[in-house]
């Protein structure tokens, strides 16, 4: 187990480095930040001076090495747009995105898995067909449209829930803010979580259904039934447990997706998280912030993958026994 974790950790480091280099090269193409950093009165010579002072006219490799050196020293630089240390900006915004992602994933899993089981067990039922049809909407409609429609219904027409922001937040400990402890914070969380979780929910539901249908056809389930075990024991202890490995992979990877691509939902709901920060930074070509964010996301993805691999060991005894290293890499 120890070597397994070590090997995965060194792979993780390599992935993060590669992602950092790739993102750094790509950032050359977001445009020239200097014209956003000076007003319209600045002359071309002054703009050039600014470019030189920031080292933007150095070669990409040199800039990348400088960036890595600063990261190793724990310095992510200062945001071009806000003039504030990037690390502080990211830390300020991280709680909002994490809370939103976790809530969205909870919604997706807690609704998606039971619905998947239900539709698998009653696959000829009318309700199952209705649920499957509805789930297509979740897959087909673009996220921003769902968000806008929800805002229109619940904020503008009914006036029940706020259309933007995070509500009132409470500070916990050093630097963490939460909206989970206030009424307005909880209300503000409902629409964005639903919007963000809807696609994952339908995905999980369909996946659980397909896996369940497959498992239910296997011999050991038939034997279990033949032995006269209670229906619930067969369905949940034997069948569901065996469908969970791919589901965990998906939940893990999708959590990474939700976290990284909450950009759209955060923009629609003006949710003050990392996604919103990033979309604003792209428009202003805020290179230090974007580079740090991309490295952070790469690191997060790698960490989630590692966690998923470790979870297999918990769920699948064969992995624990070292028979197979991991399963179902998607």
């Amino acid at each position: 187990m120890g070597t397994f974790i070590f090997r995965r950790l060194s792979q993780t480091l390599f992935v993060v480095l590669a992602a950092a280099l790739a993102s750094f090269v790509l950032l050359r193409y977001v445009g020239d930040p200097v014209n956003n950093m000076v007003g319209q009165a600045a002359s071309l010579a002054e703009r050039d001076a600014m470019r030189r002072a920031l080292g933007l006219d150095d070669s990409i490799l040199l800039q990348f090495v400088r960036f890595l050196r600063d990261i190793v020293n724990g310095d992510l630089g200062v945001s071009y747009r806000f003039g504030v240390p990037v690390s502080r900006l990211l830390m300020e915004r991280l709680p909002a995105t994490l809370e939103l992602s976790v809530c969205a994933m909870l919604v997706a899993t807690l609704v998606g898995v039971p619905l998947g089981v239900w539709t698998a067990l009653h696959r000829r039922g009318v309700l199952s067909h209705v649920l499957l049809a509805i789930s297509l909407i979740g897959v087909a409609l673009p996220t921003f449209l769902i968000g806008i429609v929800l805002i229109l219904i619940f904020s503008v027409w009914l006036g029940w829930l706020p259309s933007f922001g995070r509500g009132a937040t409470v500070a916990i400990g050093h630097g963490w803010t939460t909206g989970l402890l206030t009424t307005s914070g909880l209300k503000a969380l409902v629409l964005p979580s639903l919007t963000l979780g809807l696609f994952q929910m339908t995905l999980i539901m369909r996946l659980v259904r397909a896996e369940m249908l497959e498992v239910l056809r296997t011999d050991y389930i038939r034997f279990a039934r033949a032995r006269g075990l209670p229906r619930t024991t067969v369905n949940f202890d034997h069948a569901l447990r065996n469908t969970l490995v791919p589901v965990i992979t998906i939940v893990g990877l999708q959590f990474g997706n939700i976290f990284a691509f909450s950009i759209i939902v955060e923009t629609v709901f003006q949710w003050p998280g990392l996604g919103l920060l990033v979309i604003q930074s792209i428009q202003f070509a805020d290179v230090p912030l974007l580079a740090s964010y991309l490295v952070l996301i790469a690191f997060g993805f790698a960490l989630i993958n590692l966690t998923v691999d470790l979870l297999y060991a918990v769920i699948d005894p064969r992995v624990r026994a070292g028979l197979i290293v991991s399963r179902a890499r998607l």
Partner: protein
């Protein structure tokens, strides 16, 4: 004991009354101010937003006229000196007294390395303290428009800035955060209560403010909301009192609720077309060996092929002001007589092109931003279509502002649209920065390098002419030459639209600046 209960009761009642009187004004704009440091970035929105917290010496009234702010009187004892009589009994938000030393300090700070506002006081060579409440600004040459140029030149406290290590302006070049970036200590009618960058800023009235209290606010909450649809929804759902800007397609819907109103005006920013008139061969064109834009007939052909009335009605929802000159109404130096376009006439265009030697037209590239000006990309697409009708094939490259400005400011462009709002609200800026022959610090935004000696001379005269009537004549002469030469093609000023909840009154000023001191929340 009885007194104790009475005290409790009165406190309770007072708290209740205060509650009833609390007037919170919640509003949203597209973006957050870039910094609270008033000298860090000369961006229109940041400066107008900071005008609630910081104040200039000479400010602007409801119709953009000059009004006393931190200076009660300004005069010229001689043409090269502006004497400012400072307002007595002004306090900063932290209680410090305002005086001449703060003015001298602020001007030095504005001229320091890293400041983006230096251009406003570029002509000032010396600042002299006459007494504690009088300051002389001295120049090498007469500068009649210094008061106009400095209406966004905000005064900071010397003691506060120095005590907090903010004596120099915030600059990313320094790679550290400046205290003034997220803290403010101005003299304005409102002070910062709390701020989370890019998320929310809360302001409260500065009780000791010198001016008459025209507003009735007790608290102001500002939120940047980037998505147009969300901003409108937040207004319609009653979560906000006011939003700006309102996208044109939503204006009618907001008006129709009966609970909201849309206020409209015109921007001070003129949108116009640049044509490369410097190169001997265009960068992106089918014509080789010569530059067709050097021929005035070609420029006029393009001008007359663009139907601005159609763009106004089809793209701008009827809200724009069609422009015949480079200077917008409301800007000092505007000349109404020049504000008429050449007739839209595709037949005349074709004839002019044929005379110039391009009977079957030619091909060239066009640059356009897609997130900078109102409907910028749609306007460009319309122009492409209109020019196609006279035989000009235009290859449009519409991209995000960072890419777009990178391309056009490096002069790597053939044909483009651009907008210009003089930060001084004075035509001299348009002449100097957009129309003058590019050289050194002049003509930075004249990306087509239009050049006319007489206009350059006139611009220098405008800079130093003290008599307003003579000055206007010089401006008009320069703009007339530019118009007849077709140095650029003026297009329009876009409409402004603010959305306000009924029962809230705000004053829409044509520089798109919301002044909290004129806001009233009735219920």
């Amino acid at each position: 004991m009885k007194r104790f209960w009475l005290l409790c009761l009165s406190t309770f009642l007072a708290a209740g009354l205060c509650q009833a009187d609390a007037k919170t004004f919640r509003y949203a704009y597209r973006i957050d101010p870039a910094s609270l440091d008033p000298h860090a970035l000369a961006e229109t929105f940041t400066l107008s937003w900071l005008g609630q917290v910081y104040e200039p010496l000479v400010g602007r009234g409801k119709n953009l006229e000059l009004v006393p702010a931190l200076a009660v009187k300004w005069e010229q004892p001689d043409p090269k000196t502006w004497r400012l009589h400072l307002r007595p009994n002004v306090t900063f938000h932290n209680g410090e007294r305002f005086g001449a030393d703060d003015v001298i300090f602020s001007i030095a700070r504005i001229k320091a390395e890293g400041s983006d506002m230096a251009y406003t006081v570029a002509t000032v060579t010396d600042v002299r303290k006459v007494d504690d409440m009088t300051v002389d600004l001295v120049m090498d040459k007469p500068n009649p428009i210094l008061p106009l140029q400095t209406t966004s030149t905000y005064i900071m406290s010397k003691a506060w800035s120095e005590a907090n290590g903010a004596a120099k302006p915030a600059s990313v070049k320094n790679k550290v955060e400046n205290f003034a970036t997220n803290n403010a200590n101005g003299t304005g009618a409102f002070k910062i209560k709390s701020r989370q960058v890019g998320v929310k800023t809360v302001l409260v009235p500065h009780e000791a403010w010198w001016g008459p209290r025209e507003h009735n606010l007790t608290e102001v909450v500002f939120t940047p909301i980037q998505s147009d649809a969300t901003r409108v929804a937040a207004l319609l759902s009653g979560e906000l009192e006011m939003i700006y800007p309102i996208p044109q397609q939503d204006a009618a819907r907001v008006n129709a609720t009966g609970k909201h109103a849309v206020l409209t005006g015109f921007e001070l920013r003129t949108i116009f077309v640049n044509m490369d008139q410097a190169r001997d061969e265009l960068l992106e064109s089918s014509v080789k060996g010569k530059n067709p834009f050097k021929d005035k007939r070609v420029r006029q052909a393009i001008y007359q092929a663009i139907d601005m009335d159609a763009i106004k009605s089809r793209i701008m929802g009827g809200t724009s002001h069609v422009a015949g000159t480079m200077v917008a109404p409301g800007v000092n130096g505007y000349d109404e007589k020049l504000d008429r376009r050449l007739a839209f006439d595709p037949e005349a265009s074709k004839k002019l092109l044929a005379e110039a030697g391009y009977p079957s037209g030619f091909e060239f590239g066009m640059d356009c931003p897609n997130d900078r000006y109102v409907n910028d990309e749609k306007i460009c697409q319309a122009i492409v279509g209109m020019l196609a009708r006279v035989g000009l094939k235009v290859n449009l490259l519409a991209q995000t502002r960072t890419k777009y400005f990178e391309k056009i400011l490096s002069r790597n462009t053939t044909f483009s649209i651009l907008g210009w709002q003089p930060l001084s609200y004075d035509a001299h800026s348009t002449l100097q920065d957009v129309i003058n022959t590019p050289r050194d610090k002049i003509g930075t935004y004249n990306v087509g390098s239009f050049s006319n000696k007489r206009i350059d001379e006139l611009t220098d005269l405008v800079e130093n002419e003290v008599d307003p009537a003579k000055r206007q004549a010089l401006i008009s002469e320069a703009l007339t030459i530019h118009k007849s030469e077709i140095g650029h093609i003026p297009l329009h000023q876009a409409g402004l639209a603010w959305g306000v909840r009924k029962g809230v009154s705000v004053h829409l000023r044509n520089d798109d600046s919301l002044e909290l001191r004129w806001v009233k929340v009735e219920d």
